[in-house]
Subunit: 178 residues, 2 copies
Amino acid sequence: MKLYDSVGPNPRIVRMFMAEKGIEMPKQWVDLRAGENREPPHLLRNPHGQMPTLELDDGSYLSEIIAICEYLEEKQPKPAMIGSTAEERAECRMWTRRVDLNICEHIANGYWFGVALERFQTRITCVPEASEGLKKIAVNRLEWLNGQMAGKDYLCGARFSLADMLLYCWLDFGATVG
Amino acid sequence: MKLYDSVGPNPRIVRMFMAEKGIEMPKQWVDLRAGENREPPHLLRNPHGQMPTLELDDGSYLSEIIAICEYLEEKQPKPAMIGSTAEERAECRMWTRRVDLNICEHIANGYWFGVALERFQTRITCVPEASEGLKKIAVNRLEWLNGQMAGKDYLCGARFSLADMLLYCWLDFGATVG
């Protein structure tokens, strides 16, 4: 396997997931800031033009961080960062999607449509008037999440999982870009 | 297991997934239109107040449609509606997330913040000024997806999967609500 890597919270989540599992593989850097991810060499790997992308051993390409992490977990189950039983995996997938849809995606869109508009308006459909409101949803859902954390160290109780990595990397990114 | 069910595209996706696999279980109807999902009996099942929710055999509750469908696939792998190998599951998860984040979520938010604002503004943080723009992103991404479908019958090539169910149920909903 080979990871096509770049700056940004999403590649960071995959690198963190790999580090926790002790997975190492060749990496190739793609210059996201210069838009290399939106040009043919990378578009052949991921027609959606995003980062990161994993090249599998059969030469096919896999994108979307959740799909990549699930694949790595299947190929190397221990230590389990999604779960070691169907019930553990279910709990992690539930929290991962809640965090993804209600917090991370709103931070991402709020960023693309806001402070990063100049860079992204030529790459994706941007909705500048949505930026501030989407960030407010993320703040509101974070407050809800905070209330859900009573008595828990991690989103899945006592175990650190993919859900925490996703939340951490996007919150850290959000704190940097405002 | 027991499914807490309601109107709406998300419960429909789980019902469709169960039907394809021939899974039957008791169901309890929750009156979404009356807001029963936002009140304590259901909030104890799903503190995020959404539908559907699956009650597991140990009495715990599982929400978020992708987590529910993954759990049902693990408990009854055949016929595979996510995939029967790690590579097939990876492909399905990639397409499911692309459809989820770029199309379905924008249709959902565009609906909640737009034509359904009166009902939802007391339930969730709404961003009315984002509604039209988010729907435009969904349309743009659908056009992209259409280009990706050349030579394919389904999102995962020749096999019908969860990714198609997700897309179908949300497009059908979107066509109804405008």
